[in-house]
Amino acid sequence: MRRVTLPPRPDWTQQVERLGFAFHTIDGETYWDESAAFAFTLEEIERDIEAPSEAIEQLCFAFIEKALASEETLTKLAIPAEHWDYIRESWQRGERNLYGRLDLAYDGRGPAKLLEYNADTPTALFESSVVQWDWLEQAMARGTIPHGSDQFNSLHERLIAAFKALREPSPYRLHLTCVEGSAEDKGTVDYLTDCALQAGLDARFTYIEELGLLSDGRFCDGANQPIETLFKLYPWEWMFREQYGKALAGSRCQFIEPPWKALLSNKGLLACLWEMEPGHPNLLPAFFEGDPRCATLSPRHVRKPLYSREGANVTLIERGKVLDSDDGPYGAEGHVLQDAALNLFSEDGKYAVLGSWLVASQPCGLCLREDASPITKNTSRFLPHYIEP
């Protein structure tokens, strides 16, 4: 794994905009950054990222089985008790999942380590699937990177195939939703809508604020159309606690991601997996805050709220001293403490985290985000990658 400085395409803005990439610059700061790229060997991709991602996903499935049978675990994960049966039923029915992103620490040395699992509402999807793919083709054509380079990225075709198989009979009617006012979220959902249409589905977008409840218990979109299947880029932990949380169980709606993903998108997962498989090569030691075993953690560790996104409220601690933190509104439900990864990629004061994509639980793509601090935040830049020929 190498970080390679490269000349950006002189017309990169037009090139990415022609793909419909609307958030390459966020709040005036570059988000899509092709002034460098990460180069991997095929062995690094297959042995160190793809295989461990599949192994972690299997471990997560084993964890769900155990957690759903344990009130203690569900309580520790701060899942509201009134939704336990709803989650159990979604798992027992075998409701399929679409996608997720494992965030990994890896610098080419030693096994990749799981930092967290964005199992419920991952973004950076369109830029991973389409924009960096197009960059690769153009970078090869322009001679910026060697001909015959490749990329760990079959996201697009996997998403289309997964949409077809999420529900039977297929094609089915699919609604997609996210909050109003976030260009990044809307861009992600627009891309997924496109994939769903290419899968032959009857796909319709509606903002989550527009959702209504019909007199027969079903949800409906802004045009009062009943919703049978809903892709929601909106976290389960919020849906459980909002006004319509009570209506979920009676809604006869198949959600994507399914409710059982709420157990994985929770940072408590990190402590639970370590408890199940202490010493697993791809896991970092982690415990719920307050567990006496926290004393066994290394002096350099990270404190993460159970629910948090984009690095919010994550704190890096060394010998009791806060080295880096990100403010945010999370943390009321509790925290986990996790050893800081020793193999987080860093070079010249830049830190990179790998995002390993799963579609229908199959590893099939990679993205890298870089920041000037060890905590990846919503200001991090997206850098493309390639596999050296």
């Binding site: 990329q151 079959s154 249409l197 209504g212 007199s215 409906c220 009943p226 996104r309």
Partner: protein
Amino acid sequence: MKRSTQIGLGAAGVLLVATVWSMTGEDPPENLVYNSLSECQTSGTLSREQCETAFSEAAAARLKDAPKFRNQNECEAQYGASGCSSASVGGAQYFIPALAGFMLARGLSGGPAQAQPLLPPTTAACPPGSAQPECQQARSSSSGGSGGTSGRSSSSSRAYSTTSGRAFSAASGATIARASTSSTSVSSRGGFGSFSRSFSSSSSS
């Protein structure tokens, strides 16, 4: 190879913004409908180039396929008082129905969209003096030929006809679901989304 062999982005017209339903009641495919080139470009679903390509395809198809009349009265009898314009086709002068809009139909296989011209509604669908609002709107929007309705008429539908004379109506420029045939009523709205308003950061990760 570890990457996709191809990426069909938007088998372009695939990103839906409009729903079309047939006046004959059959369940039609969904399509993109725009009243003008500028409406297509401002809606942002397709790129400016895609809009231009679609518009030129539709304009060319109109000249080729639209019914042709030797005189203005005959044309206006079918397409309304401001629904026709003169055109030179193969060296001869004709009156043909105006280009009231264009439509990108989604292929059944999800293949690339084909741009089709949309003509004003025929008098069979919108009799002269009809009070139906979509007839009024379609007439007025077609008066400038390909001209200039702007903005998004998100709550109304318009009537059109195709070059083969089929009538239908479409909402243009915004996501409109097909009219619901359900008899259930909406008992409340807005029960999700409150957390996102109280959290400044994104709801995704």
